[in-house]
Symmetry: C2
Subunit: 261 residues, 2 copies
């Protein structure tokens, strides 16, 4: 493995990489993102993301040489970094000292099609919720996750919370969720917004056999009014207990389960 | 409101309260626990926990005088604390400056009975998972949460993650989960362990109409062997996707939903 050593936290490359870790704006402008940790770096590499740069500490190489070598072979450049540089790049408490800078994919899947099952996240901002939704979507076999423009799927916390699912599952990014829902409706697909209203349709009464597109809203405000208007059905999870206790993430799990089982 | 002022972080009462915040051993020996935050303190008070002591900052009183007055009227002692004392007691990033020390309840519910629905947590240690399970149990109307000896329901992080559900729902504490499962089996109840084994019974094929007791295992090891042996059925969640991505907390949500819907 041929590498270039970097020991200074003030190295320009490191300063730039640290900006990609912390800033969504920087990531989007450059169409680059950062993964931290061996598993996530492997997920990015084996899911077909182009690896621009690999940063590793000597300790990481001595512990996981073989896996790191695989990633290094696919990377454009490889850097051996000091512990100080590792700390500057790290977004975690116990860093493994393995980082990649990878290129975003812009069209990870083709357009939507009838018969498939989609989960759309309407302005879900919390990286933990985004990661959890992606993880459940992968487990249950959802065909693709649809995210609107503001949804930061390359956020390091979201990537980690998803355990790499965000890098493995098909994702459709759209700046116009309503337009995409309209298209699905016109094909004859069932689109629905999940809402906490007692007078909405019981989710267990819906027929998902021809595919469906379910919209999950954000923690605070739920599904936005324009998206609710675009979907053909408002659906709800009927509960025997205190409905206010069901959080957005659990509602998403139940919705996906009902669609997929 | 009559209160005693405490401004020193080294006050003996404050040092003791801080120990109750951080230590399960201290809490269990004293049968006392600490709630932080106005909502959680109200939950404890209105759920019938005896409030030994209330600690509030002047700022908290000026912002939420009325609610604090209600708790104060039910508390044995009320203390007005300085910001330094608040920081010493706090387990959160942005503390509201409201704390109570309350007495644990030891028998929060009567024994188990046929026809009811129970969730048992087998050695779930992570406070976030414990809190999330309690929250979903309350939302879906589970009759009681069963926790074995090692499960620390009065952990401040678990209480917060549960949004107070741990203080509001019936909880059965047992030092012998297997014995309790045996009792339920003998009554004719359906007990089952949730497992990730492909050859276990499909959870959707079980009949919950006479009540059920479901066991959820811990993140790392799942349900323990002796508990698996005690339950009458091993049940699993069949998935179309990558089953390894389903985390313990999502599995618990799906299990409770199937039992309760």
């Amino acid at each position: 493995m041929k590498y270039i050593e970097i020991s200074s936290r003030n190295n320009d490359k490191i300063k730039y990489a640290a900006k990609l870790v912390s800033g969504a704006k920087e990531r989007n402008e450059a169409s680059l993102f950062v993964c931290e940790g061996l598993r996530l770096c492997c997920d990015a590499f084996y899911s077909g993301y182009r690896i621009r740069e690999l940063y590793v500490t000597e300790e990481a190489v001595s512990k996981n040489g073989e896996k790191i070598e695989s990633i290094a072979n696919g990377a454009q450049s490889v850097y051996l970094i000091s512990d100080g540089v590792k700390d500057k790049l790290s977004d975690t408490v116990n860093s493994q000292g393995v980082f990649v800078i990878a290129e975003m994919k812009h069209s990870q899947t083709p357009d939507i099609s009838l018969g498939k099952k989609y989960i759309a996240l309407d302005c879900v901002q919390n990286p933990q919720n985004l990661g959890a939704a992606a993880r459940t979507a992968e487990a249950l076999g959802i065909d693709a996750l649809i995210v609107s423009g503001g949804c930061d799927i390359y956020n390091p916390k979201a990537l980690r919370a998803s355990m790499g699912s965000l890098l493995r599952i098909p994702i459709i990014k759209t700046d116009c969720l309503c337009g995409l829902i309209d298209d699905f409706n016109k094909m004859g697909g069932l689109s629905f917004s999940t809402v906490p209203d007692a007078d909405a349709r019981d989710i267990t009464s819906l027929d998902f056999s021809s595919g469906a597109l379910a919209v999950i809203g954000n923690e605070g405000n739920g599904v936005s009014d324009e998206v609710k208007a675009a979907t053909s059905v408002l659906a709800t999870i009927k509960m025997a207990g205190n409905a206010q206790s069901l959080n957005a993430s659990s509602a998403a799990v139940i919705t996906m389960w009902e669609m997929m089982k």
